[in-house]
């Protein structure tokens, strides 16, 4: 899966989880840019990403992510 393909799929997940069809995430997107992205919704987002991509983040990976770009890096690493 290319980085672009990961972004397309990831964006769909964002739109579903936050129920907002206008969301368009990029490398620099952070929680502050998305309405409703708090710590509880972050859990739902991570679970939806794991289930959507068929991957499992390790415990350390999910803390300290700075932006969506870093998130995509992690997803790419798991997809191999």
């Amino acid at each position: 899966m290319t980085r672009e393909e990961v972004f397309v799929k990831l964006n769909e997940i964002f739109q579903d989880v936050f129920d907002d069809e206008d969301i368009n995430v990029n490398d620099a997107t952070t929680a502050a840019d998305v309405d409703g992205w708090d710590s509880l919704e972050h859990i739902n987002l991570l679970v939806a990403i794991e289930r959507g991509f068929g991957i499992r983040f390790t415990m350390g990976e999910t803390t300290g992510l700075k932006n969506v770009g870093e998130m995509v890096d992690k997803i790419m690493a798991h997809l191999g």
């Binding site: 859990i43 679970v47 939806a48």
Partner: protein, 599 residues
């Protein structure tokens, strides 16, 4: 219309990911009448998504919850010491979400038997304190998780039998929870021990989700968890289904009886397919004892349908069914007719048919009916069972007798045809009523009726058993239930009414808060016999006037003129059609009861 996405088998990932869109879809549905309930969730771990997903399932059942959610792991403090927010919230129902993660001290291998016993006692006393306090303070329904099995076994297979094993310890605590449930009517166990086993204990107890998010139930398992919990809540609030409408060919037996002949259909024990259908018939038949009504909706010549049931190795017999509609009419028509004949809503049926075309038709034509996607015969039981249509929250004597009572009702209908004068018919029934203040024996049935009755119901006030008990104990209330027997049988408790005294400019008036009757005793004069009792009691208490209320709903038009028939005078009519009525007790009162002997 309920959402298929929230019925079993569902896609948990889809529900989790789309929960906001699903909630939008649910709340945008038109023509849904909700009952509103206040639910307090007292958690021993994170409950955020449990609340949100539970809300979806409840909305789908027509229950609109308002939630109180305890701060993280404050279940004990909230219950035992209370807090202002919870007190003013005044819940209808408290759900205590504890899991094996909340057990403070498991036995050590070095503990002696006495020490292990005292660990169990300590754990138990904590919960007894919680339940006791909640009961004392809120007098409401309590739902408590049992404990799920741990995901590791320090002692291997001995963990289950040795007193030092964790598995042995949680099983022991669970047994004590069940003892409590058996002896407390408004207390129910949410069986996560079972649901987690079905889901897979190791995935359920995912340490990743626990240590990262403090979810004791792994997030992907939350829909299964919440669905199971929602069954108890909807059952408590009277949203259970009441009847089966069953197809026959390839549903109750293998093959087509009209084509293959009754001797060639697969039922009994001759081959694997026959045994499979026999197990399914046994499963269906067992519902009779729970008070679930069995009916048939089959495209068949009646003669062939009955020949199938007449096989000696058929578990289900003709006599097990209240109504058999085997003809060539569309099934939606047959089901609606069946519902009208039994006098229950068509939306209280579960329709079981192997044919997806029939299922789609019935689902589209019969509003509110449940039509499980039963799949292949191997999955029939699982799919019906997992949907929790008939969740049992206490078996009443009524339930055990229900099929017989409806049968007697149909015999009455036949008998009435042979009388020219209706009063003669009523007198021929030899009716005997018991009309008395609410009594402990019938509290469960009374609460059930307030939640189930829609048509003959003046105010549609829904009450939990705890509320009913509160009214019964309050001296400013007058409560009456009516039980009716006749020569065809006992109808059980079929009428419930209550109201309370109020002071109006120094004059005592009586406000009728609720008046309902089961449709199974329509046109028997029971409502007149009930009114006599209220009038007598009000006069004895020196009450000057009885005030009655009618609040229109989608279903209760039949009682629009109820108070007029009872001799009340209309004193107010609101724009929404609500009316207020008054009976002046200083005027002479004439009983309209012609044929019922009371007490």
């Amino acid at each position: 219309m309920s959402l298929k996405e929230l019925e079993y088998p569902f896609d948990s990932d889809f529900i989790l990911r789309k929960k906001k869109a699903l909630k939008r879809q649910l709340t945008e549905r038109e023509g849904v009448t909700y009952i509103d309930k206040k639910i307090a969730i007292l958690g021993g771990s994170t409950t955020s998504d449990i609340k949100l997903i539970l809300e979806l399932f409840l909305l789908n059942y027509g229950i609109r919850p308002e939630f109180y959610e305890s701060e993280y792991n404050q279940y004990y403090e909230d219950a035992v010491f209370g807090n202002e927010e919870l007190d003013s919230f005044n819940p209808d129902l408290v759900f205590i979400h504890t899991t094996s993660r909340n057990i403070k001290n498991f036995p050590l291998v070095t503990d002696n038997e006495e020490a292990v016993n005292s660990l169990a006692d300590n754990e138990m006393s904590k919960f007894l304190q919680i339940w006791g306090k909640l009961e004392e303070k809120f007098h409401c329904t309590i739902i408590q998780n049992n404990f799920e099995q741990p995901f590791f076994r320090l002692m291997g297979n001995s963990d289950v039998s040795d007193i030092h094993g964790r598995l042995n310890f949680i099983n022991r605590l669970n047994e004590r929870f069940y003892d409590y449930a058996r002896s407390h009517e408004n207390f129910f166990i949410n069986d996560i021990n079972y649901i987690s086993a079905v889901y897979g204990i190791k995935k359920w107890s995912d340490p990743g989700d626990w240590y990262r998010y403090k979810y004791a139930v792994a997030v992907p398992a939350i829909p299964e968890f919440a669905f199971n919990l929602s069954h108890i809540i909807k059952a408590v609030y009277g949203k259970n289904k009441k009847a089966f409408a069953l197809d026959m060919d390839n549903t109750l037996w293998g093959g087509i009886v009209g084509d293959d002949g009754p001797e060639n259909i697969h039922i009994g024990h001759e081959d694997a397919e026959s045994e499979l259908f026999t197990e399914f018939q046994q499963y269906i038949k067992a519902h009779k004892d729970l008070g679930i009504l069995l009916t048939v909706a089959s495209k068949n010549d009646e003669e062939n349908a009955l020949a199938g049931l007449a096989r000696p190795d058929s578990t289900l017999k003709q006599d097990d069914f209240l109504i058999i509609k085997a003809n060539w009419d569309n099934k939606d028509i047959n089901i609606k007719n069946t519902a009208a004949e039994i006098n229950i809503g068509a939306d209280s049926f579960v329709f079981v048919d192997d044919n997806p075309v029939e299922r789609a038709l019935v689902e589209a034509q019969v509003a509110g009916i449940s039509v499980p996607e039963v799949g292949a015969p191997e999955t029939y039981i699982d799919i019906i069972d997992s949907n929790g249509y008939f969740e049992v929250t206490g078996l009443s004597a009524e339930d055990l007798k229900r099929n017989g009572m409806y049968k007697a009702n149909m015999e009455r209908a036949k008998a009435s045809a042979s009388f020219d004068d209706y009063d003669d018919y009523l007198r021929s029934l030899e009716m005997q009523a018991e009309i008395k203040p609410f009594t402990p024996l019938y509290m469960a049935r009374i609460a059930e009726l307030t939640n189930k009755s829609n048509q003959f119901n003046l105010t549609t006030k829904r009450c939990s058993q705890a509320e009913i008990e509160k009214f019964a104990a309050d001296p400013t209330y007058i409560t009456r239930y009516g039980r009716l027997e006749d020569k065809f049988g006992d109808n059980g408790v079929v009428a419930v009414s209550f109201g309370h005294e109020a002071d109006e400019n120094g004059e005592k008036v009586f406000l009728m808060d609720l008046w309902l009757m089961s449709c199974r005793v329509l046109k028997r004069g029971m409502e007149f016999a009930m009114m006599d009792e209220f009038v007598n009691e009000c006069k004895e208490r020196g009450i000057a006037k009885i005030r009655g209320f009618y609040y229109p709903t989608a279903k209760n038009k039949m009682v629009k003129d109820f108070y007029s028939m009872q001799g009340f005078v209309k004193i107010h009519e609101a724009e929404d059609g609500s009316t207020e009525w008054e009976l002046d007790l200083s005027a002479p009162y004439f009983s309209k009861n012609v044929a019922i002997k009371v007490n």
